[in-house]
């Protein structure tokens, strides 16, 4: 194969289908839980085996904030609770 192709390490986070994921700090997480008045288990989940979770290094119990590009609102936020799996 052509070796001249100098390629920087590809991260799945750069893929167009993958929106921005970030781990919330405990304080931020608390704010999210309070705004929506939920227990963590009532949030949507993301598995700890999810490729993005692995890349982020998130642990079960973390809350991940996802910033989606939205066709109708421009930007939309989503939160997922990391669970074992």
């Amino acid at each position: 194969m052509d070796k001249k192709v100098g390629q920087k390490e590809f991260s799945i986070m750069d893929h167009i289908l993958v929106p921005k994921h970030e781990i919330l700090s405990p304080e931020e997480a608390k704010i999210v839980l309070e705004t929506y008045r939920v227990k963590p288990h009532q949030l949507p989940y993301i598995l700890s085996s999810d490729p993005v979770v692995k890349e982020l290094g998130a642990k079960p119990g973390d809350i991940i904030k996802i910033t989606r590009k939205s066709e109708v609102a421009g930007v939309a936020y989503y939160y997922r609770y990391v669970i074992e799996g």
């Binding site: 194969m1 052509d2 192709v5 390629q7 590809f10 799945i12 750069d14 893929h15 167009i16 289908l17 993958v18 929106p19 994921h21 929506y36 008045r37 939920v38 288990h41 009532q42 949030l43 949507p44 989940y45 993301i46 598995l47 999810d50 490729p51 993005v52 979770v53 996802i66 989606r68 939205s70 066709e71 109708v72 609102a73 421009g74 930007v75 939309a76 936020y77 989503y78 939160y79 997922r80 669970i83 074992e84 799996g85």
Partner: protein, 1260 residues
């Protein structure tokens, strides 16, 4: 019966397994006698019809509770079984427990360390979710199953074999030995509680030995009523028959045991009891014969009663029957209001409305009572003491009427203006049930306005519809506020009108508004009056010699003042322009006032003037159009398709030319000079060329016909206005029918190498493969007719299959999503409070309140403002500043849109402020209301259009050489979340620096395409000495760009050392192998990878814009992303499951949205993206890709009843019992089943009154 207010409160339902003690405790009588009735016809005491079990006949009093049959619920009895019997529903549980415990000491067969480890996990994690608990139990089970020796007592564990349905064997060294139910029971009894907790059984309440029955409960007679036939013979229920069988055999077991029969004989009898008990529970268990009735019909026992569409759950509990409803044939009546429904007098006399007598209506009601059965009258009077008087039986109705006083209730006939619900099945979306105003008419059919045919999908070829009369004030009020026809003009599916002009209305609108339509003063005034116009008349367009008005002026009368609108002409003619409520130019057709057309005049009127204005507009304009068209006349006939001989000749010529070209193509094919196409064999290429040629021939023929048909030809008018038919249909009628197809191909089946015996084998003439040269007008010849019928049959079959498939898909979608609702914080949650979406549809906007998907139509707002704007345009900076004030009230997308539109608009500051204020206002109005059942709406919005999808997979002929599953099958595949789509494909993009390099793209494509070693091997030989010789195919190697060395290197493994003999021969020595294994090795090598990526069978380079893109058959995202030169950020696959595993759940959601939208769009079906978002979010909430169905979203529901009502009813209930699940009754299906208001929409709202204060006030 008197009206009673009974408050029933069900908090929940706990499922569990009865212990023998409880069964006995509930029992009122032990059943011992297998006889039901004695010779006198009296129930035998202790028999299955014992009077203590409840009452059947109305006058009878229950021997247990003393109630009559109306109130006695029935009481259980019991049968003491002589020997323990295994309960079929719990066989699997028994099986796992036996596998996981020791046969001697009956302990969990794991060592102490592991047991304490799991115990610790369970104790420590207090917030353990049921799912995690289940996972732990599963892990323990699978570990325990593998253990071969008990760590506690050291005994060997034998393998346990289950012979379905209920026999267990231990596989001992000496052979299988049967485990009897009695010994299984003893085994299960001895298992300690703590071990059971680890195995996932509900702690204190359930013991596994209860899975083996000692006592059988006997359901009360009310559950199995006997029917007395006309002949006077009593016929017993299936269950009674089965119970008699059980009793008889049980009796025999007892007797033979007492008489000391050999155990073998007793065991046979016990097995017979086991058979009867098993079939009593479930008569469709595999492995044993079904129990039959004397007549030969299989018995319908407990399981069958619950299961399936007509079973208890779906048939009776979820499908409630109602009173005050009616069904009859429908017929059209354009003179009605669109929100009216014509009801036959006979129906109006049967359907009644209970009206409470007050001082204000007493006189009217008295008259109705006097009228009695004469319309308008009344049928019943209910006195305040609850007594119901039937007026038919009353002698002197005047006296009864005089006795009427406030507090009485009169059940009066339906009269004009009453609110009724009207429905047509299949109820695919919410517009399938709408509230109409009653209009009592003579005749025997329901009458409806043709404009509401679209939402009901009704026509008048014999369709029937249902009508319901809401009985309560709340129900009527709710119907009136939410369900009226005019409030449903805009479909929640795409935010555009679904109600509008159809068929002749469109023809009429066109004829009325086309340029040369002039009306005399008389006609004009008359029509204006018909439309209900009362106001100043406009000036006539033509004054001399006679006053003439243009048709457009008539149309304009009914447009709201100040209404502005422009629409680009859909076909030749001027743009439709409306200025200040005057239709200035353009003709009105389907795109202006038609149904299912967004951004039409009708749509704008609904959005800007409200639904009542739109209703009035539609009513008036449609009535005028109808009157105009009636007076003018419009018809279509045989003569409309007459073509002059010259035209006929031209049509035939077009076809003949095509036939010539086809002959030429065939000649080229035979000579081998036919230009080939990539990825297609010569035969396929030829077929493709021919099909293209033939379709061109048909089109040309059609065009010729079209040219000769004048613009005022009725068929042409209808096709152009969108009233009915298409240019294609006109071609069919006047020119030629063209190619008939089956499965998207020309007709080939039939005889050997020919379709019909009328052709020679392999006849190259297109006629022989179903090309029809004739048209409908001139008629088809017999052969053509036959081909046409073949194509027609396929169409019918296709429709039948499609409705089934899409119906099931919709049922799954609805079952999966029905419980989702918008909460007061605009999140979408399930009844457990778990969040599915943080803001409905990502912007909180209700699609049915949106403007074709958009929250606010900014462009239109600005246009309106521009009309009144005066002054200097706003400065860019100031605009920026103003906008920044609104950032928190509007979403980024709207801000962006506003910014762009406003900076171009040149509006002064004041007007900009107006626009911004108005935008916020409109935005807030468009927000979704809390409680909205968004789940059901989304399910319907995807399910309903899917009925219209094509079933077939499309073939991208020539352009893209790949078959892609599209339409309904693809949609089903997506909501099924299949592991592998039926046609996986990738779009591989290249890094920008190589994107325009064709050679590079080709090279990568070659690298990617998977090839086997066998692909470059011409032949291979096996020598018994162990030598395998591969002769390589040079051409193939060249094509795949591989060298013999490379091939050898791919064959090479640790053991195998191939040798290259010469350029095209490789030999491999395998030592010590017999010929058979040599062959195996050879085949294995031929099938192993040579190069490329596994899974990708084809890769083609295609131009997309300025760059080259590789499209593949087959998909392997993980591997392709790693290839150098490929742009890993843009490369995409249609395999959602693969996206999930390589890119994560969020990417899978995004891909789902993309794929679903693409599938709908490709079929030309409009669905608001918010519905798709919801489906995708729901499928991915758990972090895993979940199917919409029993193994995914529906199966994951918390409610037992909801799951049982969906599919796999009985196992679901059994599992719930074993786990001791509690039904919380929080969802929709569950609520319907137990008769509670559903917790969505208006059912979600509760009224709380502080009772304490009221009580105090009263006592004062």
């Amino acid at each position: 019966m008197s009206i009673q207010e009974i408050q029933k409160n069900i908090g929940g339902i706990k499922f569990s397994v009865f212990s023998p003690q409880i069964i006995r405790a509930y029992s009122v009588v032990e059943i011992t006698a297998p006889e039901t009735y004695d010779r006198d016809g009296l129930p035998v005491p202790g028999g299955l019809m014992d009077p203590r079990l409840g009452t059947l006949e109305p006058g009878q009093k229950c021997a247990t509770c003393g109630n009559t049959s109306a109130k006695c619920p029935g009481h259980f009895g019991h049968i003491e079984l002589a020997e323990p019997i295994i309960h079929v529903a719990f066989v699997d549980d028994i099986y796992t427990i036996l596998q996981c415990t020791c046969r001697v000491c009956h302990k969990l067969i794991l060592n102490d360390d592991e047991i304490s480890k799991y115990k610790k996990i369970l104790e420590e994690s207090k917030y353990i979710t049921p799912e995690v608990y289940e996972n732990i139990a599963r892990e323990i089970k699978s570990k325990a199953k593998k253990v071969r020796q008990c760590p506690h007592c050291g005994n060997v564990k034998y393998e346990i074999q289950l012979v379905k349905p209920t026999t267990f064997y231990e596989i001992r060294e000496e052979g299988p030995s049967r485990l009897l139910a009695s010994s299984i029971r003893a085994w299960l009894e001895d298992i300690n509680d703590k071990n059971l907790i680890l195995l996932g059984y509900d702690l204190e309440k359930i013991r596994p030995e209860w899975f083996v029955l000692q006592v059988l409960p006997v359901p009360p007679v009310t559950v199995r009523p006997s029917i007395i036939l006309e002949t006077g013979i009593r016929s017993e229920d299936d269950l009674t028959h089965k119970l008699v069988d059980i009793l008889r055999t049980n009796q025999r077991v007892k007797e033979s045991k007492e008489s000391g029969s050999p155990p073998l004989i007793v065991q046979d009898l016990v097995d017979l009891v086991q058979y009867h008990v098993t079939t009593y529970f479930d008569n469709e268990v595999s492995g044993i014969p079904q129990a039959h009735h004397r007549s030969g019909r299989p018995l319908r026992t407990l399981s069958q009663r619950l299961k399936g569409k007509e079973g208890r759950f779906r048939g009776n509990l979820s499908g409630k029957r109602v009173d005050f409803s009616s069904r009859t044939v429908i017929s059209p009546d354009p003179n009605l209001d669109i929100n009216e429904v014509g009801i036959p007098i006979e129906v109006a006399k049967k359907l009644t409305i209970p009206e409470k007598v007050t001082v204000w209506n007493i006189e009217r009601l008295r008259q109705l009572v006097i009228n009695g059965e004469n319309y308008p009258g009344a049928n019943y009077i209910i006195r305040p003491d609850g007594v119901k008087i039937r007026l038919d039986y009353v002698q002197d109705r005047k006296a009864v009427a005089a006795a009427l006083a406030p507090g009485y209730i009169v059940e009066r006939h339906l009269v004009d203006g009453d609110i009724v619900l009207f429905n047509r099945q299949p109820s695919l979306h919410r517009m399938s049930i709408m509230a109409h105003q009653a209009k009592v008419l003579p005749g025997r059919t329901f009458r409806l306005h043709p404009a509401v045919c679209t939402p009901y999908n009704a026509d008048f070829d014999g369709d029937e519809m249902n009508l319901h009369v809401p009985q309560g004030e709340e129900a009527r009020c709710e119907a009136e506020l939410l369900m009226r026809v005019q409030d449903q003009i805009l479909s929640p599916r795409y935010g555009g009108p679904i109600i509008g002009a159809i068929r002749d209305f469109l023809t009429g609108a066109y004829l009325l508004t086309k340029d040369d339509t002039y009306l005399t003063k008389e006609e004009f005034f008359n029509l204006a009056n018909i439309g209900g116009y009362f106001g100043p008349m406009p000036e006539p367009t033509v004054k001399e010699p006679k006053e003439l008005y243009h048709g457009r002026q008539l149309f304009s009368l009914f447009l709201p003042k100040g209404f502005n609108y422009t629409l680009r002409a859909s076909w030749r003619g001027k743009h439709v322009v409306i200025k200040d409520g005057i239709l200035v130019s353009g003709v009105i057709d389907k795109s202006s006032i038609g149904a299912e057309k967004p951004d039409s005049i009708l749509h704008r009127i609904v959005k800007e003037y409200g639904s009542d204005a739109a209703r009035n507009f539609l009513n008036s304009i449609l009535r005028v159009i109808k009157a105009y068209l009636t007076s003018k006349g419009f018809t279509i006939g045989y003569g409309d398709f007459w073509l002059p001989p010259s035209a006929r000749k031209a049509v035939n010529q077009a076809i003949a030319e095509a036939y010539e070209r086809i002959k030429d193509l065939q000649r080229q094919y035979e000579e081998g000079t036919l230009p080939l196409m990539r990825g297609l064999s010569p035969e396929e290429a030829l077929e493709l060329y021919i099909v293209n040629e033939l379709s061109k021939a048909r089109d040309n023929a059609g065009k010729v016909a079209e040219k000769y048909l004048s613009d005022d030809n009725s068929a042409v008018v209808m096709a152009r206005t969108g009233a009915r038919g298409s240019p294609l249909n006109i071609g069919h009628m006047a020119a030629a029918l063209g190619q008939q197809s089956i499965r998207g191909k020309r007709i080939t089946r039939g005889f050997e190498n020919r379709t019909l015996c009328h052709f020679k084998p392999n006849d190259p003439n297109p006629d022989a493969k179903g090309f029809i040269k004739s048209n409908y007008r001139d008629g088809l010849n017999p052969l053509e007719f036959f081909f046409h019928a073949m194509g027609g049959r396929e169409g019918l079959v296709d429709t039948a299959v499609r409705t089934q498939q899409s119906g099931y898909m919709q049922r799954r979608l609805v079952n999966a999503m029905e419980h989702l609702r918008v909460e007061y914080d605009r999140t979408v949650r399930d009844p457990e409070g778990a969040i599915i979406q943080f803001l409905y549809g990502e912007d909180g906007v209700d699609p049915s309140k949106s403007d074709h998907g958009k929250a606010v139509n900014v462009r239109r707002l600005i246009e309106a403002e521009q009309l009144i704007a005066k002054g200097a345009p706003i400065e860019a900076e100031e605009l920026e500043k103003l906008l920044s004030e609104y950032v928190h009230r509007l979403n980024p997308k709207l801000i962006e849109e506003l910014k762009e539109a406003l900076s171009k608009s040149e509006l002064p500051k004041e007007n900009v402020e107006n626009v911004l204020k108005r935008t916020v206002e409109l935005f807030e109005q468009a927000l979704i209301e809390p409680g909205e059942a968004v789940g059901v709406v989304a399910a319907q919005s995807i399910g309903e259009p899917s009925t219209q999808m094509t079933l077939r997979t499309f073939h991208f002929a020539g352009v893209k050489e790949r078959d892609i599953t599209l339409g309904l099958p693809r949609l089903i595949e997506l909501v099924d979340a299949r592991r592998q789509p039926s046609t996986p494909t990738m779009d591989i993009y290249l890094l920008p620096e190589f994107a325009e390099d064709l050679d590079f793209a080709r090279k990568i494509a070659a690298e990617i395409r998977f090839s086997k070693i066998g692909d470059v091997v011409k032949s291979s030989e096996i020598d018994p000495s162990g030598q395998i010789t591969f002769v390589l195919d040079k051409e193939a190697m060249e094509e795949l760009v591989v060298t013999p060395e490379y091939v050898a290197s791919q064959i090479e493994t640790g053991k195998r050392k191939p040798e290259i003999v010469n350029e095209d021969t490789i030999i491999l020595m395998v030592e010590g192998a017999d010929p058979l294994s040599l062959q195996r090795i050879r085949n294995k090598i031929l099938n192993s990878r040579l190069k490329g990526i596994p899974g990708i069978t084809e890769a083609t380079v295609v131009k997309e814009g300025s760059e080259w893109v590789i499209q593949t058959k087959g998909s392997n995202l993980a591997k392709v992303l790693k290839i150098e030169g490929v742009d890993p950020t843009r490369t995409i696959t249609n395999d959602i499951y693969e996206i999930w595993t390589t890119l994560g759940i969020e990417a899978a959601r995004a891909a789902l949205v993309r794929e679903i939208s693409k599938t709908m769009e490709e079929q030309g079906l409009e669905v608001d993206i918010r519905h798709i978002y919801l489906v995708a979010d729901l499928m991915t909430v758990t972090g895993a890709l979940k199917q919409v169905g029993r193994h995914g979203v529906v199966g994951g529901k918390a409610s037992v009843l909801a799951r049982a009502a969906f599919e796999i009813t009985v196992p679901t209930l059994a599992e719930a019992a074993v786990k001791g699940e509690i039904e919380q009754l929080k969802g929709v299906t569950e609520s319907v089943i137990v008769g509670l208001p559903i917790p969505v929409g208006t059912g979600m709202v509760d009224l709380f009154i502080t009772q304490g204060e009221n009580v105090e006030q009263k006592s004062d």
